[in-house]
Structure formats: structure tokens, C-alpha cells
């Protein structure tokens, strides 16, 4: 069993999807519970993996590698290392919880859960694939169900949002595909195997190309490929100015899909950069990281926070807060310090849990009041005290309050950044003040003040909703108090990654 663990983890949800499709469409409850059951084994396996992963060693573990299409040197290659282990756990956890958060879906239940499970397979596949061909397949497999889940089960402007999401991502995918093919043909023998491509990193030239406009910037082949991949990933992160699909997609998507979108999909952007750009194109990474990851990340932090402050729709506010918080990931990655890069990957995980909570909490109130207008509530703390308490935990975690997980990752990122780029660290740290500003203002407008007469009868958060929130809240606290649980698994791999890029960095 354990030798093909990753395969099971990836494809059990797909098997679940097939079962769901075979069930009668009217059997809503059965469909829901079968779907939930299909996400349990991957979660258990992810936990097992988490416990059995040897954090002291860099490099890949739990490797599965089989010949697939020998003619093109394509293999079925799965494994995890410190870059992906946290993401695998996050994906399994959020998929499991989001199934329960989706129990309120009444329209097209069968289609929804089948697509959701397909999405789960796609996401898991992306994080465990070590072969470009396989990686790309999963990448695209993820896209389609997402399009339908937003476009069919979304809010009033769902079609606009779904198409925007789809086109944006597809645009990125095309650039990525071109880059993958370019790398394939540049390798000798041609291969899609990421580990081989990484080993051949010095083959991808950095001598300036004669072609316009690259000659203006002194870019070589490696830089061009880097940029093609980067744009593909930047759309996912989402980095300014490719971020505007996110607020729309979030606002329209059903709650659980927003959680998946923010919790898992955004991480694929930064994950991709760490997995592919960093080791495969280290020289270009060293040249381009300052502006395109560091400075852009700092800009993301401040710009996202300012945009969040101006929002009137609670969900849009949370969406922009994601733009801001993913900026910390970019900033930390760009620092090439142990603290910075570990902080970045920890922030990826923490953002997944914290923003997951935030979207679930928005869903709770939306299900009751049927709107998300921040100024339209007031005084909910008196009406729904438990709900308010959980919200406060999530909000303060998002603000980076010490003792909660967000604090550790943000401090590590900023500390790591300071060594290389103090100015960027100052800019990033000023985002912390802005974050406190917009989140506290939101808390005040929604939860504090005299209770709103209209909502005196709102029911308190229920058991199912708490069930989806409490595990995330517990993780947020554990990682704030004892972050080594996670950091010990990341450190070795990420340090090795740093060592690949550092020699290329001109100080």
C-alpha cells in the first residue's frame, strides 16, 4: 500500500467521482456522504505521510516512477519533498472540510460533487507530479471542473467570473506549455522528467538573445522561459497586475469553492515557481527575483491591503486580503534566506488555513442574511457570540497576532527579507498596519455596535459549520505555538533549493 500511496491519494477522489456519477441523482444525502467518504482516505494518507516524512533529508521521498510513453520519454512520476509536503496535507484537509461545507448545495448535487472530486484529484496531482507532462495534465484537469463549479453553482455574475477565470488561467497555461516544450527540446535526451531537467539546469543558456525586445534587457533563453512560466504562475498567485480575476471568481463562487480557490489553487502559483523556476532556471531566478518576486510581492501586500480596505462586499474584502497575504509568500521566496523561504512556504500553508476559515465564515453569514454588505450588519456579536468568537480568531490570525500561525510565517518572511532588502522588509511590514486597519474596521462594522434589528433572530453557527471551522482553528493555534511541527519538514528541502540559486546571486 505505502509504495503507491501518492497514486491512491490522487485517484481515490476520482474513483469517488465515478461512484457519484453512478448514483441516482435524487439521492442527495447518499451523494454527499459518498463524496465525503472519498476524501477521507486521502486525508488519512496525508496525515500518515506527514508523520512518516523524514524532514532531516532534502530531496524526494515516497517516489513512484513508471515508464508511461517511452517514445517521448514521458513517465508517471510522483513524489513529495519539503516543498510539496505541506501542500499535500493542505489539499487533503481542505478538500475533506469543503465537502462538508458543500452540504448546503441543493442544485445539481450530483454534478457538483462529481466535479468537486475531480477537482480534488487535479489539485493533488499537481502537487505530487514530478514529470512535466503529468504535471500539465493535472494542471488542466483542475481547470475544467473549476470553470463549471463557478459558472453553474455561482452567484449572479457567475458566467462573467467563470469565463474570466478560465481565460486568464488558460492564457497562463499556454505560456507554461510553450515553456515546457522549450525545456523539453533544450534537454538532451529530450525529457519531461523534472529531476533530469533540474540536473541539466546549466544547459539553458543565459547569454543575451539578439531578438527584440529581449536584447534590451539582456535576457537569455533562460530568462525568457522563466518569464513565460512566471506569468503562468503569477496569474494563479495572483500577482499584480494579473489578480483581477480573483475578486470576481471569489465573489461568485460558492463558499466551498472559494475556500479551495484561495486555500489551494493560489498556492499552485508560488509552488510552481519554487518547484520549477527556482531549481530549473536558477540563474534567471537570481536575476529576476528581486523585481518580479520581491518588489512585486511588497507591492502586492500594500496594494491588496488598500484595495481590501475600500471594499463593501465582505467576500471581496477577503479576496483582496489574499492578494495582500500572498505577497508575503513572494517576498519571502525572493529573499533566498533560510528564514525567508521557510517563512514563505509556511505562509502558503497558513494562508490556506486562515483564508479557508475566513471564506467559510463569510459563507455562514451569507447563508443566513443572504447578503455580504459589510455596512449592512452591525452588532452581530450580541446575536451570534460563538460565530463572532471564531471569526475573531480567524481575523486576528490573518492580522498576524502572535500565538497564531500567521505571526510566525510573517515574521520569518520579514526577518528573512530584511537581510537582503531592508527597504522591501519595511514596505512589507507596513502592510501589517494596514491589515490591522481594514480587519478591525470590518469587525467593528459587522460585529460591534448596537445589534441590528433586522437580524435579531439570526440562528447561531451550527454544528456542521463548526465542524468545518474548528480543525482549521486548532491548526492555526498549534502552528502559532509550535511551528516546528511544520518547519522541521520543510527546512532541509528549502535550504537545498536556496543553495541552488545562491551561487548565481550577484551581491
Amino acid at each position: 500500500m505505502t509504495e503507491n500511496l501518492l497514486t491512491y491519494m490522487t485517484f481515490i477522489p476520482l474513483a469517488g467521482a465515478v461512484v457519484v456519477l453512478l448514483l441516482p441523482g435524487k439521492a442527495h444525502s447518499l451523494i454527499r456522504w459518498v463524496s465525503a467518504a472519498a476524501t477521507v482516505p486521502p486525508l488519512l494518507m496525508a496525515v500518515w505521510l506527514f508523520q512518516n516524512f523524514d524532514g532531516s533529508k532534502p530531496g524526494l521521498q515516497f517516489i513512484e516512477k513508471y515508464q508511461w510513453i517511452p517514445a517521448y520519454n514521458i513517465s508517471y512520476y510522483m513524489a513529495v519533498d519539503g516543498i510539496s509536503i505541506s501542500m499535500v496535507l493542505l489539499t487533503a484537509l481542505l478538500s475533506f472540510l469543503c465537502i462538508f461545507a458543500s452540504f448546503g448545495i441543493e442544485k445539481g448535487v450530483k454534478g457538483y460533487f462529481a466535479l468537486f472530486l475531480l477537482l480534488d484529484t487535479g489539485m493533488m496531482g499537481v502537487f505530487v507530479s514530478l514529470d512535466f507532462f503529468l504535471f500539465y495534465i493535472f494542471w488542466e484537469v483542475m481547470l475544467l471542473p473549476m470553470y463549471f463549479l463557478i459558472g453553474v453553482w455561482g452567484g449572479p455574475r457567475r458566467e462573467y467570473a467563470a469565463i474570466k477565470f478560465f481565460l486568464y488561467t488558460l492564457f497562463g497555461s499556454v505560456l507554461m506549455l510553450l515553456a515546457i516544450l522549450a525545456l523539453y527540446f533544450a534537454s538532451e535526451p529530450h525529457t519531461f522528467d523534472m529531476t533530469v531537467l533540474i540536473a541539466q539546469a546549466d544547459r539553458y543558456g543565459t547569454q543575451p538573445l539578439a531578438m527584440w525586445p529581449f536584447n534590451l534587457w539582456g535576457w537569455g533563453f533562460q530568462h525568457v522561459i522563466w518569464m513565460a512560466l512566471f506569468i503562468g504562475f503569477a496569474i494563479k498567485i495572483p500577482a499584480f497586475p494579473f489578480h483581477t480575476w480573483l475578486p470576481d471568481a471569489h465573489v461568485e463562487a460558492p463558499t466551498a469553492i472559494s475556500v479551495i480557490l484561495a486555500g489551494v489553487l493560489l498556492k499552485m502559483g508560488t509552488y510552481g515557481i519554487l518547484r520549477i523556476n527556482y531549481p530549473m532556471l536558477p540563474a534567471a531566478t537570481a536575476d529576476l527575483a528581486y523585481w518580479f518576486l520581491g518588489a512585486l510581492g511588497a507591492w502586492n501586500i500594500i496594494y491588496g491591503a488598500l484595495c481590501a480596505m475600500a471594499q463593501k462586499d465582505l467576500k471581496k474584502l477577503v479576496a483582496y486580503s489574499s492578494v495582500s497575504h500572498m505577497g508575503y509568500v513572494m517576498l519571502g521566496m525572493a529573499s533566498f534566506t533560510t528564514q525567508g523561504i521557510n517563512g514563505a512556504v509556511l505562509q502558503m500553508f497558513n494562508h490556506g488555513t486562515i483564508t479557508g476559515m475566513l471564506f467559510l465564515l463569510v459563507g455562514v453569514i451569507y447563508d443566513r442574511a443572504h447578503h455580504r454588505d459589510i455596512d449592512g450588519f452591525g452588532g452581530l456579536a450580541a446575536i451570534m457570540p460563538v460565530y463572532t468568537g471564531v471569526t475573531a480568531l480567524a481575523f486576528f490570525a490573518s492580522m498576524g497576532l502572535p500565538g497564531l500561525s500567521g505571526f510566525i510565517s510573517e515574521v520569518l518572511v520579514l526577518l528573512g527579507t530584511w537581510q537582503k532588502y531592508p527597504v522591501l522588509a519595511i514596505l512589507g511590514a507596513s502592510g501589517v498596519v494596514l491589515t490591522a486597519g481594514y480587519l478591525l474596521w470590518t469587525i467593528q462594522r459587522i460585529y460591534l455596535g448596537p445589534p441590528n434589528e433586522k437580524y435579531l433572530k439570526l440562528p447561531e453557527i451550527n454544528g456542521r459549520e463548526l465542524f468545518t471551522l474548528v480543525p482549521l482553528g486548532v491548526i492555526v493555534i498549534i502552528l502559532g505555538v509550535y511551528p516546528s511541527v511544520m518547519l522541521d519538514l520543510l527546512r532541509a528541502s528549502l535550504d537545498q533549493l536556496n543553495q541552488i540559486v545562491l551561487p548565481h546571486l550577484h551581491q
Binding site: 474570466k164 481565460l167 499584480f240 497586475p241 489578480h243 483581477t244 480575476w245 496594494y303 488598500l306 484595495c307 481590501a308 480596505m309 475600500a310 471594499q311 534566506t337 533560510t338 528564514q339 521557510n342 452588532g379 456579536a381 450580541a382 486576528f396 497576532l401 502572535p402 500565538g403 505571526f407 510566525i408 515574521v411 520569518l412 520579514l414 526577518l415 530584511w418 537581510q419 531592508p422 522588509a425 519595511i426 511590514a429 507596513s430 501589517v432 498596519v433 494596514l434 490591522a436 486597519g437 481594514y438 478591525l440 474596521w441 467593528q444 460585529y447 460591534l448 455596535g449 448596537p450 445589534p451 509550535y482 511551528p483 516546528s484 518547519l487 527546512r491 535550504d495
Partner: protein, 680 residues
Amino acid sequence: METPIQTDFLRWIVFLPLLGAIVNGLVGAKIQKSMGKGAISFLACAPVIVAFGLSVQALMTLQGLAPEQRFLIDRLYTWIDLGSLKVEMAFLVDPLSTVMILVVTGVGGLIHIYATGYMHEDKAFWRFFAYLNLFTAAMLTLVLGDSLLLLFVGWEGVGFCSYALIGFWYQDHNNARAGNKAFIVNRVGDFGFVLGMFLLFWSLDAQGHGTLTVREMVKWAPAIEAQTLWGIPVITLATLFLFIGATGKSAQIPLHVWLPDAMAGPTPVSALIHAATMVTAGVYMTARMNVFFSMAPLTLNLIAWIGVATALLAATIALTQYDIKKVLAYSTVSQLGYMFIGVGVGGYAAAIFHLMTHAFFKACLFLGAGSVIHAMHHEQDMRKMGGLKAHMPLTTVTFFISVLAIAGFPPFAGFFSKDEILWLAYTNPHVSKFVWLLALVGAGLTAFYMFRQLFMVFFGERRADHHTQGHVHESPSVMTYPLIVLALGALFAGFIGLPGVLGGSQFAHWLEPVIHAHEQAHGSHALEWSLMGFSVLVATFGFFIAYLMYYRGALSPQRFCDLGRGFFYRLFDGKYYLDEIYQVIFVNGTLLLARIGALFDQYVIDGIVDGSASLTRFTSWLNGLFDNYIIDGIVNAIANLTFWSGNKFRRVQTGNINGYLYGILIAVVLAIIVKLRYWS
């Protein structure tokens, strides 16, 4: 430096209040319902009292050791271990932190007990005590944290708790706003603090000593003396950053604006924030990092000036206030200014000494004010009080003692600590004598506004309405006993820090192992005596004016209000209009930026996105037209031509044999002609 002695009881000083907070926070509502408020009170007070006992144990353990060995450490686990960054979850007690934990658990414990009486009518009793315990735990973490990062956990933790407590009665938007203000202004300070921390860490790391453990940092401080960043010595820059943090927590210019608004919280909270915990954090941190500050004379000079400016600014505002708590709030800001004058002139021990005496008399004043407010049915306007001494003897006496202490009359506690600071300010050769002079003026103002308050509240005619007057009563003993204990502190605590002429300070001596850089005052005994006399004289003058104005009524306050055509009065009463200025520049400025950002996002970025979509659609429409009319047009034209010509030629096929034959004949003839003309 000696290796500290391992213990495992220090953690409980932090954990017990934390446990109290967790229990009351999670199941407090149920306990309150089933077992009553007494159970909540017990769950809240017992941990703090036990923590006080453990603090005493720590003190006694330290006393049993040689001065240079006075460190106890309690290691729990490695919190963060990344590269050169290794942070232990560890608590450390040394002479400095003993003083602090005794104040926090001692004064804090009394405030807890008092609050069980004060908050008795509140439905969310349990929630109040959960926050109060959390606050205590956070403050103890701040004080006991072995590393700067753990200190910062407590640092932000008290910020959070103050937010929750100031906005405790959250159904009023004003309270919620005051909470927000406190948190956000503190966040600005925290921003400075973390930058200072980062800078020190990396500077030390560059010397191969990267650490955030305070003892280690202090040890390697000389190694980074020569380093610079942006042309500024890193120590100067780092201490400036750290001081920004201190101005946030300890309410110094320019970040003092949150503290007066923090009065929105229940009165025991004000006492806790103002006396025992939060605001002392900045002073404590600078004392903890004294080695670095002493290496940065520029920073110290700035601190001295900021301190005296804050002391005067707050004192002048306090002159005009009528809210019983607002007067005390500004007096806190002012007294914190004195502590920073102490820091600025290198008298860290004097600053901590003043912190401690201030904890006693200010807690006593606040709780006394709370007792009055309690008796007056939540009336806070001093103009509606007066003559309360007849009804509230214990509150009056304890308040009186504390007023004497804060005004600096010997032998009350405030006299010794404030005088020590003034003495050091006068004798420090690096700091301008103006600092001393202005601080002296501030002392006179302090005496004036404190006696003004005393007279307005407890003496003179009874200005309360009939209904309230009938109900005025002394508070229950659960509230008055803490007042008595605190007043005893305000009376006697000064004796552990006697001035040099009276035998020298035990207190400074106790802190010596931590505060190495003790600035020695240079001056004769005669000078010391005369300065002491001076400050008593100034305080007496302040008292006398207040006496004439508010006790005898021989002097009209109006004459002072009209000075400079009322300009000064309006300036003081308007709090120098700093709230308004900040509102316009920072709050509105940020909101404007936010709106611009959002509009930019909506119209420019998304405009480009949607625009490119529209452009694509327009191109495809054009393409469609082209396809429809040009390409298809050509195709259709060809088809039409074929059709047309077919139509025309169809006429030819008439079925008439003669016609065919004519046709063939013409064709043959034409062919022959062509053949003959062109191919011959």
C-alpha cells in the same frame, strides 16, 4: 556571564493566568450560569494570586544568589529553529523582571479582586475576566520572555487584550472605535519594534552571533558598534526603531493619542492598562535593552526630549479636563514622560523605580475613581461631584495619599522616584538643562491638576443631583481593601529607593546586574538637597494654586482660561488638535489611498482586462464581417456568377435541333477563323 539556573516553576507564572483565561473564555458562560459569579471570580483571581506567590518565590530565590548569578531560566522547547535563528520558548527571571512580575501580579491581582466587586452587575462577567487574565498572561510573557521575539508575543498580546477590554462594552460604537484606535496605533509602534529587532539580529548575525535571546544580544552588543546601515550606525538606527515601539506602548509623542481614549473600557481595565501592565512595557523594554540604548547617545537625547515634551503636553491637557478618568489618563501619559526622561538621561533604574511607585499610586487613583464612579451611578463629570469625603471616607483617604504621592510630596513614593529622575536629568552632562527645567514645571502642573481633582471630587459643595446624592455610598470591602493596600504602597514603596544623601537606593542596587550602564550622578550633597527642596517647593506651589482656586474659591480659574485671549485654554482643551490632525492626514489619507487603489483596480486594471476582451470581441466581429461579406462574398459571388451564367446558358439548351446545329456551325466557323488567323 554565568549560566542561568534551570527551574520549572516560572512557566506557571504565565500559564496559570493563561489557564484562567482559557477556562473562563471557553466555558465561563456555563460556569456563570450554573455556579454563579463567585466561581468565575475564584477562577480568575486564584491564578493571579498564585502567580504572585511564585513571583515572590522567584524573588527569594534570586536573593539567595550572588548578584552576578541572579538568573533563573525555564526552558520549554525550541520554538523556531531556522538557520542562525534559534528561538527558545523560555522564560527568564532576573532582578529586573522580578520587579515587573511582582508589580504585574501584585497590583494586577488587587485589580482583579477589586473588579469582582466593580463588575458584579455585568452580564458578561466571565468574558471580562477571561480578557483580564489573558491580559495578565500576555504582560507576564512580555516580562519573562527570554528572547526579543517572545517579548514581542506579549507585546502584541497586551495590545490585543487592550483592544478587547477597551471595547468590552462593544455595543457602543465609541468604545469599539477606541479599541480600534488603541490597536492600530500600537501596531504602528510594533512595526518599529520588529524592524529594530530585525536590524539587531542581522547585525549580530554578520558578526557570527545572530540571536534574539536578550542576554546573548547584550553580550555581543559591542561587536556591532562600528556597523552602519544607510550611513547610520546600526545601534542608533535599531534603538530608534525600538523606541518607536516604546512610544506606541507607553503612549509617548507622537503615538500617545490612543491612551486617553482607552478610558472607554471599564475602570479596572484602565487601572490595569495604566498602572500595572501595558503602558509600562515600553519603559521595561528600553531598560531591558539598556546596553544598546546607552551606546546610542543620539537616541537617548531624543528620548529625553520626547519624554519631557510628552510630560508637559499631557500635563497641560490634564489642566482642562473635567472627566475624572481623563485627568488620570493624561496624568499617566505625563508620568510615562518622566520615566522616559529617566531613560533618556541613562537612569534606567530610576525609570523602573518610578514605574513601580507609579503602579501603586496610579492603580490606587484609578480604582478610587472607579469607586467614585460606582457610587455616583456611572457619573464621570467632576463638575457634578464634590463633597464626597463625607460618604466615602476610605476612598477619600486612599485617593488623598495617592495624590500626595503623584504630586511628589515627601515621604510618599512618587517623591523619591520622580526626584531621582530630576536629579539625574540635572546632573547628566550630555542632556540640556532645559529638560530638567521643563520637567520641574511639569511637576508643578501635576501637583496643580491632581489637587484640583481631589478638591473637585471629594471636597467642597455637593453638586450632584438629589437622586444621585441620596445613593452615594462607600464601596464594598472587596473594592476598598485593594485601595488600602495600594495606598500603603503609595506611602511606603519609595523607601526602597532613597536618594544618595539618605543612604542610596536599594532598588538601583538590586537592578545593577541587569542595568550595567548605570549613569552615575555627579554632584555634591548640597546640590542634591537643594534640588530636592526645589521640587518640593514647586509641588507646593501647584498645590497652593489649586487650593486657592478649588478649595477656597479665592482665585477664579477663569482668569487663567482667558490668558492669551483663551488661546491656551482652547489649545489644551482641544488636546493640541492632534486627533483631528491625525484623522485628516493618516486616517483619511489612508482611506483615500484605499479608494484610489480600488478604483484603479476596477477601472484601470480590470479596464485593461475587460478592454482586451472587448477588443478581442470587436476584432472577431470585424473578422466575422470580413468573413461574411468579403470572403463569403467572394465565394457567394463566384457561386452567383456560376448560377447566373448557368441561368443564361440554360436558355441555350432549348431542345431545338436547328438551334444546336446553328450553334455548332458558328463554333466550327469561328474555330476555323481562329485557326487560320493565329496558328497558321
